[in-house]
Subunit: 598 residues, 2 copies
């Protein structure tokens, strides 16, 4: 019943035309990402997603994960284990990994594309290797040489999985309230004791070992968040020769029952004096954890896009096939009892909203992911700095905006189905339930907004945001006199003006009353997202026009891009002005009531 | 775990202060609705909702309804049967019923309030008597004297339930495609044959009999929607003395599995030559069905409000009790490990959005419901006409906007819970799943928007919309020079201007290209909803100010109203301008693509 085809043509457009990827051929790994190689990789990923992961998506939701209390083990849904084996053996866990540890060293950009495909086909499944990759990154950046030798090859090969252990019952956002303790055992290791909740993949039956990354406090360290350290706690201790030793005292205490992503095991993890080793410096655990979280946040943005894409494809097929009513401008399907509902303007409005988000978001996300590659791989220090700045600035924007829209779009696509969308006969309702988590985990979206206005804007005296503005201003200036681009130039200039005014307002008003920043944060994030998308769509329109002018490629494809770029101006961008008005209304209306008056 | 207290203080404010209900004491039934009587009724409703219906809400969701294939019967969740008995015996099914048939004849307005309370406490449960009331209304308006005598007393007493049978697999919105047949049997009755789907309460174990209202086509009648007639088809045939006779051939063929409202039985109904009787004229079934649907649509608007209210109350309690982080303006809870999250501006933004909707929507809904009473009960013909016009105009607006907001608010409230909101330990995720149906059933919200721009605006040469504008213009003119009201007057005038411009644009552009109406319809509906709410909030602010000036009542209550009215201006109303821009962008961007280009 569920339709999904990986959007490979759109990837080719974004990579080859919009980002002009071949120009980066001098970066490590990019030479291996020539268009034909990329096409082959995407083709294989699409095949795996469509043939192996997609068929397990609905059954995984229905069946869920099972906790076996006696063994403290978890059984993942039928088929997940075999699919994971195929996945790991196909080299997908190794794709962007460091060649020193068995990875293929391909650009992170490519990893993003492939992740979108896997996540669209089966969000719950894709989370297992997704979290392993986060653990890989934290250890790769902060681990000792021995830790890297011990864990990275197995994480890269997919033989072992990884997890992130932050949350406890009394602390989610506020990790300073953490109670899990790490007591030095005198031999360089620590005894970890405490309870962690909502640990995705904390226990599963897919891999031989699990590498838990656990935040805990070393007694005697500073209070609050400054006393938190990061530890690596393997499920099975690892011998010097890499063999699996005794079972560590890290056990799953139960599973959470959730609204969605039922195929992924969300675990309570009990550490009862489990043996762990410090990763990075003592009391600097948050820094190491942020390595995982920033990567994870961009990964979550991508999940928002992925669910929006598969929801769209299914709604589109329904809208083309469901016959109901006649077009208000005259019969379009005279041989049928009614017209397909895609003729109705309000059905198109919903589909166009989603299509327009998907394609704009995909280009923006890949543009941003490329900054991630440039940040680590460019030989030019200035490029590395600017890329790191842009990544840091846009990560919370993309995480919050893409997951909000991913959910809203899943809801819109469900609406296209009418009553059928509410029943479990169609996949639309599962997409909505799965999509919902994206707005919550890896830092609830309100926290992303606070990260943006409270941290990212101010960092290095606003260097990142001013560089972002500079790039937009240059884009606007460069397009002067270009009649074709004029509508986009105008739209971008208007958004840029609204965002500039909002930024000025924040600079003037946030220091005198921090609540002005908090009250403005969410609208500010949306305003920045829309501005970034306006720049993206302008680039897309320009790219498509150039292809048409040169008579290259598929004419209808590029014309569709330009029509969709027009839709963005007409129907998505106008919201910037309302965001600005709300921002400038300040904290007073938000803060007026006492807690009792609510 | 679930919190709910019926908002009785807010009802008292809306009825006594805002609507000044006592002035309508000369209408039938209104004399019985004196403030102290109303207070007593609401108190009893609150008790029933909080003590009987609320405890069954979560268990009803988990357990769902069970179909017994052998008997073709349905078992509702544990406790529903006993609760229904209490409900009916308490006289709640009879409250607004015609005294000629055993009803209490109280204003529809009161029925709306009580329905909000019941629906908030248990949406699935409240649907059973809700649909009975729809069947009651259709028979009361269109039934023969004999049909009324046979069915109305039992529907009023709640001994029997009612259903609405419209949808078939091949036709939902487009009822002209209907296949169910009604063949005259020669004795005045018809043999009804066909399959109906998504029939809420089609089969249940709560009542002794069920009165199905079924749309079907009499062979030889006109094609399409003009050949549809309405029939009454009782589950058990009724003898001349009112006793139950043989089982009719109207059987439940199975239940739908759904995203939410699992406590309500959504049935496939098979009519295999079931005996039915024509209600109203042959081939005029849609007219009779619209009687049910219009009432049902306002009832669905109310469901949107109800779910938003209970979602809000639970999120508010969580936000007051969950300690996490410190206020950015300084510690607020020095004796605790952290501050309650209600100190954070972005948490307040979410709560205020919902509170502001709930109170504005409640006042607007009750104001509209009062038009329903005036439409049928006023001795003044002009008042009856204007009230009917306003009801017809606002019904689609409230149905779509309130259910969209009810869902969006359930999502916002779930967000306040952070990760807890995604787990089934808290009620937030069920509220989201239940709320979702409101946007779909009784005419998907896109259909409401089309009803508004395609039918309601044009009816009687725009008499209803011009009267609506006239009332707003008078409100604005009357407040000239009132310094206190100035911000609301300005806000309302701006919204009125945007709505006026949008209406002019439609009148100029929709006739030349109907797609312009379709493409604009959804934004137009939102623009009208926001304008109606602006007028409502202005009235609320004025009412509260008058109470404060006179030193009457609870000062903090009225101050809270005014602060919330300010929030509406700052944070909800600014969207009107973006809606206008989108409307004026016309059909071209929406209709640009061929079906293949999607």
């Amino acid at each position: 019943m569920t339709t999904y085809r990986a959007p490979v043509e759109d990837y080719a457009f974004v990579l080859n035309d919009y980002l002009a990827l071949p120009q980066y051929g001098n970066l490590p790994g990019f030479a291996d990402a020539a268009p034909d190689t990329v096409e082959a990789i995407l083709g294989e990923a699409a095949k795996l997603a469509e043939e192996v992961l997609l068929p397990l998506n609905q059954s995984g939701d229905r069946e869920g994960c099972i906790y076996n209390a006696a063994a403290k083990s978890v059984t993942t849904p039928t088929g997940f284990k075999a699919a994971y084996k195929t996945f790991a053996e196909g080299g997908w866990t190794a794709m962007t990994g460091d060649p020193d540890y068995g990875g293929q060293g391909l650009p992170a950009l490519l990893g993003s594309m492939v992740s979108e495909i896997f996540c669209a086909a089966n969000w719950s499944f894709a989370m297992y290797p997704g979290l392993s990759h986060g653990a890989y990154s934290a250890l790769h950046t902060h681990g000792t040489p021995e830790q890297k030798r011990t864990y990275l090859p197995k994480l890269v090969s997919g033989e072992w999985a990884g997890t992130m252990n932050l949350t406890e019952p009394q602390c989610g956002t506020d990790l300073g309230l953490m109670r899990t303790k790490a007591e030095p055992k005198g031999d360089g290791s620590y005894a970890i004791t405490g309870t962690k909740i909502w640990i995705s993949g904390g226990e599963q039956d897919l891999t031989a070992n699990t590498v838990h990354l656990v935040l805990a406090k070393i007694p005697g360290g500073p209070d609050g968040i400054k006393g938190v350290s990061l530890f690596v706690v393997p499920k099975f201790l690892v011998g010097a020769d890499g063999s699996l030793g005794p079972r560590n005292k890290a056990f799953c205490g139960g599973l959470d029952h959730k609204m969605g992503i039922n195929g992924n095991a969300t675990c309570v993890m009990n550490y009862d004096g489990a043996t762990g080793w410090l990763v990075g410096e003592a009391h600097k655990g948050m820094r190491a954890m942020f390595t995982m979280m920033n990567e994870a946040r961009l990964g979550v943005a991508l999940q928002g896009l992925a669910i929006s894409e598969i929801a769209y494809q299914n709604a589109r097929e329904f809208a083309k096939n469901r016959l109901q009513g006649r077009s208000i401008t005259g019969v379009k399907n005279p041989n049928g009892p009614a017209d397909p509902i895609i003729v109705h303007p309000d059905v198109r409005r919903m589909l166009m909203d989603v299509k327009c988000f998907n394609e704009g978001a995909r280009a923006l996300l890949l543009w941003t992911a490329l900054r991630g590659d440039l940040e680590t791989k460019s030989p030019d220090e200035k490029v590395r700095e600017t890329s790191a700045d842009t990544m840091a600035l846009l990560t919370p924007v993309l995480k919050a905006y893409f997951t909000d829209q991913g959910f809203a779009n899943a809801v819109k696509c469900q609406q296209v189905f009418g009553g059928s969308g509410f029943t479990k006969e169609y996949p639309a309702e599962q997409f909505v339930r799965d999509a919902r988590i994206g707005m919550i985990y890896e830092g609830a979206n309100g926290i992303q907004a606070l990260d943006l206005v409270g941290r990212k804007l101010a960092a290095n005296n606003g260097r990142a945001v001013f560089a972002f503005f500079g790039e937009i201003d240059k884009t606007i200036a460069d397009s002067k006199g270009n009649a074709f681009l004029a509508p986009w130039t105008e739209g971008l200039a208007r958004a840029r003006k609204d965002l500039g005014e909002a930024t000025d307002w924040l600079m003037t008003n946030a220091l005198s009353d921090f609540d002005n920043a908090g009250a403005a944060s969410y609208d500010y994030l949306y305003l920045m997202a829309l501005t970034a998308l306006a720049a993206t769509w302008m680039g897309i329109a320009q790219t498509a026009k150039a292809k048409l002018d040169r008579g290259e490629g598929d004419k209808a494809f590029y014309e569709t891009k330009i029509a969709t770029a027009r839709y963005f101006l007409a129907r998505a961008l106008p919201d910037t002005s309302a965001h600005l008005v709300k921002i400038k209304s300040g904290a007073a209306p938000v803060m007026a009531l006492t807690a009792e008056q609510f």
